[in-house]
Structures are given as structure tokens and as C-alpha cells.
Amino acid sequence: MSKRYPTNGQIIFHVDMNSFYASVEMAFDPSLKGKPLAIAGNPEERRGIVVTSSYEARKYGVKTTMPVGEAIRLCPNLTVMRPNFQRYKQASREMFKILADVTPVIQPVSIDEGYMDVTLCADQGSPPEIAEAIQRRITEELDLPCSIGIAPNKFLAKMASDMKKPMGITILRKRDLATTLWPLPIEEMYGVGEKTAVKLRNLKIETIGDLAEADTWQLKHVLGINGERLQNRAKGIDSRPVDPDAVNEFKSIGTSTTLPYDTTQENEVRQVLRRLARKVSDRMDAKRVLAHNVQLTIRYHDRRTVTRSMQLQDYIGTADELFSISFSLFEEHWNQQPIRLLGITAQDLAEKKEITQQLDIFSYEKHAEKEKLYEAMNNLTDKYGKHMFPDLSSTSKSTQVSTSFQKDFLNDYKK
């Protein structure tokens, strides 16, 4: 083990692309470099909203979510462009490929940031050397700026990458916390949103340092379990590992069963599929997710196994839906040979809270009947917060994830 590495503890990087969309546009069209640039939903409309802006634009006070008209008033020679999501995805994929050359232990978080665990990368140099090499490659190969935070855990790495932008490399050791992290106002702490900040300030917690020293019981009382978690973070404690599979979490939920004897009976198959569909549906409910794709596995008596899947128009989750889709897959692909095993996997999952469901003219009645109930739930949710009602069941048609990017593609760098 190298001397440069601590004998215990981990070394985590947080790589954060600087004003990513704007930087990608500049790399694509270098004539934009050095100019104030904003990416906005609809540049022709003065009331369009700035999604991101270059550092040159930020100097004039241009900010994210600012209407285009106001941005132009602040910075009259601002260039305003529509977003090109395909281009950003492509750049993101290339960026993660560069990280993957250093270590496979990468956890993409979003299109423009990710964690990596370089604890076992001593052969490639000291952590700052590795960070410099990454920053250099991303600059040279993709012409994109990034900031890297180096720390013993994810939270501190995230805070560190934020300290110097653009093109910073910041090391945040535990022994530096009192001088670098604790003086920061509480709003700057990652994980503290507007509402939480207000609650904390009510407790006279103004800085991250105040939080670290606050009364734990009181925090728990006000913020619940999250209070204790935040305080630990403020103390520099964060035990979450860098999890390369985090993107895959909930990616699929499946189950299969070997039949007691090989069968060619369609009604036996029906029964088995119904049972499997119910199991998968229950597990999906527990995780509050819906599926956009269903896969059926058939293993024949000779152990030959086929898997066939169907991409759906809508997100689905009920046992009935899972059953009818897997049965139609079965009808379409069964070659009439005796079957030994059947399996259903719900894939391409998304969290319910990110999903909206387009109602259908031929079936909306069943939702409309429950309208009063939903209304009451919504009112209570507005009052008491989102988790008031764990959804125990749902029927859905034409559902859609509404995030502007889905996380699926974050796996693409592995291809």
C-alpha cells in the first residue's frame, strides 16, 4: 500500500460538470466560447425560462429559472439557445466512459455528475494526480470543464466539488471541516432544501457548524430521521458506498417458477402466469414503481430458454395488466413444446411519483368514480406532505415519466 494513501478509510471523488448544457454547446460551436450564453426552453418567447447559463452570463447576474426577457435585460448581448438533449446525453456518456477508465466503481447521479471510489487506484497515482488526469482528459477530449471534489465520503466530496468552479479540484479532509465546511450558511449544505432551511433557522441553526453541534433529539423531533442524517453529514459522517448499480435500482423486478412437471396445457400456463403476475405486482407496489416493459421467460423441457419482452406505451403495475401482457407474449412466442419454467419480469421501472397517467376515453370512468377520494387525498397531501398516502394499488393507462431526462441512459457508458 502506498504511503500516500491512508491505511483506513476511502477516497471518493465527486465529478461535477460545470454549466453542462452551455459548455456542451460551446464545445459543439467554439465560436460561442467566452460569450454569455443561456439555454432556455423557448428563446423566441421573452417569458421562456433559462435552464442553464455560461459563467460569462452569470457574471451579469443571469440565473437558472430566470425568464429570458429578464436575462436579456441584465445581459443585452446574451446568446439564447434551445436545449439539445441528445447532444447532452452523448457528451454525458463520453464523460462517464472517461471515469470508467479509472475505476469501475462509478455511480452516475445525473446527466452531469457522478461519484467514483478511487480507494484502490493507488497504481494510477495520488488522488490529486488522478483527479488532474481526469480533468485534463475531459478538457482535451470533450472540451468540457468540470470540478472535482476529493474527500473520504460522498457527502464531503459533493460539498468539495462545489467549492471551486469552474475547473476546480478541491480536497476536503475531515480535519479541515472546522475551517472550510462549518462556517458555510446552512442553505449551502447539500440535502438542505428551502423548507428544511427555514425549520433549521427557526432552531437558530445558521451554519453547517451549528447543525453539527445542535441537539440531536431536537433535530429528530423537527425533521424526523432526516434530522439525524443531516447532522451526521455536517459532522462529516456519511457511510453510503459508491454504488455502481444505484442507477439499476428498481430497474427490474421479476420472479419465475419451475413447474412441478412439464406442461403444454394452456390453462396451467394461465394459472402460473397469474400467480407470478400477482407476486411481481405486489413487489412493485411495495417499491412504489410502475413498469414500461414486461419480459416473459419460457424454459422448455430440453432446457432451451427464450426470453421475450414487450415495450409498452403506458406504465403499468397491476397483476391483471402484468398477466395479460405476459400471456399475450406467451401466445405470440410459445412454440408448443412442453414447458418447464415460466418467469415474468417487470422492466424499465419508474417511481410512481415521477409518473403521470393519461386517462383513456374508453376507460376513464373507473378513475372518475374515485375522484372524490383522490381529491380528499390531495387536500391532505397538501397539508401533511407527500408520504401521507402510500399507494396500495393502482390501475393505470398511458402513463409517462415526467422528468426531463430518465436515468436509463446513465448506464450507456458501459456499452
Binding site: E331, E332, H333, W334
Partner: protein, 328 residues
């Protein structure tokens, strides 16, 4: 085969059933024509399609002259759809095309026909899609599935079609038919032993390659009998250059099989079964040289050689090995 009468000569049962469905005006939504190659399935499907569209139908007989008959022959009838294997199989996309075709009304009327040739070559996916619309037939739509291997089709498809078995033509019927077409007695005999397809037999009769193949088989026997040491030379210089392709080689070996069958038939006194009627002299000579047991062994070596060709063993090797066995 231009008429039902002609078709009924080779397929009395299937032909009559199809004619009856016209006469009784009981056309099924789907038919499955199954039977070996050359038994008239395609011809029957064309006749049937013409029967549905012909403007001057006479009973069940189409005129072959009208605009519809002509366009069914040329493949230009817009409401008649032929699906044939694209390479090794019939793909999902081909069935999807059909599926779309059948959500639309017909172009000229609402009478529509689709014929799936080599229906057993549908992928499982394609079969199941086809099944979907066999289950929900639209009005005035008729399907004909043709196959040499009906067992390879999904049961669910078979059960939704009216099955028509196309029988192989009995050799003596074919031989008569060939003679009546002006084929020499000896050739008619040989050809009907090799195929049950009338058209194929007539083509072979005219084919120079086939005539030479026949000569080479006789020559090979001669070499085996009189100059066994030169047999490898003969194989390499004469035999192989003629039987270049695998199926050509198979045909050569088929002829050889017939010759040795003749020899065995002679041993057991069944002269009437002999195919190479003109080669009596060589056969008698051979029966002096080779015992009945030897001839049986030789026959099984030839069949073994045919198997090896099928398994893609190099043809020259197979042939060299075979002749070494035969000359013993």
C-alpha cells in the same frame, strides 16, 4: 395444370374438395394444403384464387383470359397477396404487412386472398401473428397456407384451417402420364422412379445435363467392373466435374441407388421392377461378379454416402471413399 380436371388427375381428392367448395358456395376462411414438393399445391392455390376473382367463371373453372386471371398469373392483382420465405424464413415484418393489408378495404372490391408459401417456414412470432387473424377473419378474405411439412406448423394454426392432403403421385400413374406426353418408355420409367412431380420429370427429360448424368452412372458401373484400378481417376476426371453441386451429386447417387436396386431385383427375380430396362447386359455381367449380399452392402454404402453429402462432408472425399467400397 390449367384446369381442375387436370388437377384432379393427380389430386383426385383434394381437387374434388376444392371444386365442391365452389359448387356449394362454401368457401372456408383458411385452407392448409399439405403434401410433398411437386404435388400441385401452388397450382391448386392459383386455380382457387382465379376461381374467386375470375370474371367468366364456368362452374369452378376459371377462364385464364380475363383481366383478373391474367393479373393473378403476373402477380399484379392488388387484392391477392403472396407471402414467400425471405431467405430461410417468413419474417414477422411480412406478416405485419399482411396484417396492415387486412385492416384496409380491398383495392378493387372487398374480396381478398392471401397465400403463404412454405408456411412451415414462418418464425414462431410470425405464426402467432398469423393465428391472430385466422381467429378473427374479415369478410371475404380467404387464406391458403402451403406446406410440405404440415407437422411443423402450430397445432392452433392447423386446427383453424381446412386441411387438404396433396398425395404424392403413384409412380405408375406418373409413368403413364409421361408416356402420354411423348417420353420414351425407358426414360418414363427412370424419371417416375426419381420424382413424383410431373413438371420436374418433363424438365429432366429435356435436360442435357440429366442425360449425361445417366450416361456417367452407367460408365461408373463399367469402370468398377472392368477397370477397377482406374476408378479414382474416373471419379476425379469425369464424375466430379459433372456433379458439381451437392444436389447434383445427390441426383447422381440416386441414379446409382436405382442401378443397384435393379441388380437386387434381378437376383430376386422381380424383373418387372427394373428401372434401367436397357442395361440388362451390364446387369447380368454384374450378377456374375457380385453376390446378392455384396450388392446389398454396396447399396447401403451409397445411402451412407448420400447422408454424408447431406452433412456437408467434402463431396470428392465421399465419392472416393464410396468407389473404394464399391470396387471390392
Amino acid at each position: 395444370m390449367q384446369t381442375w380436371t387436370e388437377l384432379k388427375e393427380i389430386q383426385p381428392l383434394a381437387g374434388q374438395m376444392l371444386v365442391n367448395s365452389f359448387k356449394k358456395n362454401r368457401i372456408s376462411h383458411a385452407y392448409l394444403f399439405q403434401g410433398p414438393e411437386g404435388t400441385g399445391k401452388r397450382e391448386a392455390s392459383i386455380l382457387f384464387t382465379k376461381g374467386l376473382f375470375c370474371e367468366q367463371l364456368d362452374g369452378a373453372e376459371p377462364c385464364h383470359q380475363c383481366r383478373n386471371c391474367i393479373r393473378i398469373d403476373s402477380g399484379n392483382h392488388p387484392d391477392v397477396h403472396w407471402i414467400e420465405p425471405d431467405g430461410q424464413s417468413i419474417k414477422k415484418e411480412q406478416i405485419l404487412h399482411l396484417q396492415k393489408e387486412f385492416t384496409y378495404t380491398g383495392m378493387e372490391s372487398n374480396q381478398k386472398v392471401y397465400v403463404v408459401v412454405d408456411a412451415d417456414k414462418m418464425t414462431t412470432n410470425a405464426s402467432n401473428r398469423l393465428l391472430k387473424f385466422l381467429e378473427e377473419p374479415t369478410q371475404q378474405t380467404t387464406a391458403m397456407l402451403l406446406t410440405e411439412n404440415g407437422q411443423a406448423l402450430l397445432n392452433t394454426i392447423r386446427s383453424r384451417c381446412q386441411l387438404l392432403a396433396f398425395q404424392p403421385l403413384p409412380p405408375h400413374r406418373l409413368q403413364q402420364k409421361l408416356s402420354s406426353e411423348g417420353v420414351s418408355e425407358s426414360n418414363a420409367r427412370l424419371l417416375s422412379a426419381l420424382t413424383n412431380d410431373l413438371t420436374e420429370a418433363l424438365d429432366m427429360n429435356k435436360d442435357e445435363w440429366f442425360a449425361n448424368a445417366r450416361k456417367l452412372v452407367i460408365q461408373l458401373i463399367e469402370v468398377l467392373q472392368s477397370k477397377p484400378n482406374e476408378v479414382l481417376l474416373f471419379v476425379n476426371h469425369q464424375w466430379m466435374p459433372h456433379f458439381k453441386e451437392r444436389d447434383q451429386m445427390q441426383q447422381g447417387l440416386d441414379l446409382l441407388v436405382l442401378w443397384f436396386q435393379d441388380l437386387i431385383n434381378q437376383f430376386v427375380g422381380r424383373e418387372e421392377e427394373v428401372v434401367f430396362v436397357q442395361e440388362r447386359e451390364k446387369r447380368e455381367q454384374a450378377s456374375m461378379q457380385w453376390s446378392r449380399q455384396t450388392a446389398t452392402d454396396q447399396l447401403s454404402h451409397i445411402l451412407e454416402a448420400k447422408r454424408k453429402i447431406n452433412q456437408n462432408v467434402h463431396p470428392t472425399l465421399v465419392m472416393e471413399q464410396l468407389t473404394l467400397y464399391l470396387k471390392r
